[in-house]
């Protein structure tokens, strides 16, 4: 087998290589995110038929469900990056984990807001102490805890390692929280989309949802690349490659 894939991955772990790589990919990711997002919104808000029970109010799921999925997806990415950062002490993994946290917190916040907007006409209440809602709220606090711990240290790399450890504790705890709250009280409907087997949703509604999920992934990638590039410049301020970038920008 060719050995260029591991070699390329190792190279990508070095800050200057990743800085260039992320800089090249970022505009494309952003473009795809905007394009797919616009298509999904048109499909969801205009083309998809109204629900026979909920009328037009259900259309908020085209924002709500992708955000909810992203909040968990980003936490998982953060957890994996945190694990890599702690085990192999790779600087880039620390930066990726720490810069994922604010984006994840934003998606979690959007999920909670859109959920409560939808809950008012449907359940008759802005907020209820249901298992999924409570777990999502706990997830938001976990994101905020990671951000807070990261900024509490004066040394950023040490703060990143401590916050990475907290992220891993959170990964162990989130299923426990979800299970215990589920045991306690539940109102939220079960999942409608099924990866294995038939989904309980008409294709007219499903495709905008899936497109929006893809769009949010690309948005996350673009936003993460931007943040990581900024953070790398700040962290590696004294290094030669940063000076070269600064000099070339000063010349142009």
């Amino acid at each position: 087998m060719s050995s260029w894939i591991p070699l390329w991955l190792h190279k990508l772990g070095s800050p200057p290589t990743f800085y260039r790589f992320a800089g090249t990919l970022r505009p494309w990711a952003m473009l795809l995110a905007l394009l797919l997002g616009a298509v999904a919104l048109y499909g969801g808000l205009v083309l998809a038929p109204a629900d026979y029970q909920q009328g037009d109010a259900y259309r908020i799921i085209f924002i709500h469900v992708p955000s909810a999925e992203m909040s968990m997806f980003i936490y998982a990415v953060m957890g994996v990056a945190a694990f890599i950062a702690l085990v192999w002490r790779i600087k880039l993994a620390e930066v990726v984990a720490m810069e994922s946290a604010p984006i994840g917190a934003a998606f979690t916040f959007i999920t909670l807001i859109t959920g409560s907007l939808w809950g008012k006409p449907m359940w008759g209440t802005w907020w209820t102490w249901d298992a999924r809602l409570t777990s999502e709220l706990v997830l938001l606090f976990l994101f905020l805890g990671v951000i807070g711990l990261y900024h509490a240290f004066e040394d950023r790399r040490q703060g990143a390692r401590a916050a990475a450890f907290l992220a891993i504790i959170g990964i162990i705890n989130v299923p426990i929280v979800h299970f215990s709250v589920n045991w306690w009280n539940t109102l939220h409907q079960g999942s409608t989309i099924n990866i294995f087997g038939k989904s309980k949703m008409s294709w007219d509604m499903l495709w905008p949802l899936l497109t929006m999920m893809l769009a949010t992934k690309f948005y996350y990638a673009a936003s993460l690349f931007n943040r990581v590039r900024t953070d790398l410049l700040a962290l590696e301020g004294g290094k030669d490659w940063v000076r070269q970038i600064a000099e070339s920008e000063a010349r142009s």
């Binding site: 805890g145 390692r161 450890f165 705890n173 426990i176």
Partner: protein, 228 residues
Amino acid sequence: MNRPGLATACVAMLRRDLTLAWRRRGDIAMPVLYALIVTMLFPFALGPEDTLLQRIAGGVVLVTVLLAMLLALDAMFSSDIEDGSLEQLVLAPQPLALMLGMKILAHWLTTALPLIVIAPLLAAMLHLPGAVIPVLLLALLLATPLLSLLGAVLVALTAGTRRSGMLLALMLLPLCVPAMIFAAGAVAAAQQGLPWLAPIAWLGAAVVLAVVLAPLACAAALRIALDA
């Protein structure tokens, strides 16, 4: 060189921490006073009706104990960091996790145990029926070690930072949700005359898990936080 055995080291650690706590007896009384005052505020805020107070008594006592423990948690390692004895502990030949486990035990004995002792008084202040109080004590006996162990890991993470009080609350309280649900669930079930063994058993399982894992996690966290 003749190295003292592991048991000797554990006993020495425990005795040192308990002696230190005993020399500053006033600090032990603080969480207890805090819990008493917070409990006293509830009837003022909600009105002195017996039925209402009875219904919320179990939950109020649990939350009050949790907050009182949170206040005391900050001091778990702070004096040892200031005088450098924590660094010596990290360098010591004995396993760090075991030594930290002893420190957590000492901390639990000096902060949680007094709170459990006055819990019947707190419950009586809110007119909790006498028959439920044993269940409340059992729930506290299992929930407080869980909080101490979980808290110790997070305190260790913030060991290298300065202002950590609010941050600790932000990190610890979401993780306490399961402990609170099961403890309150047991008390509520006992109050309604339902079987309460299942949530107590879950709490017990969580404590066993935490006793094994938390000292190890605490040691790892401390190494990260002190590695400057």
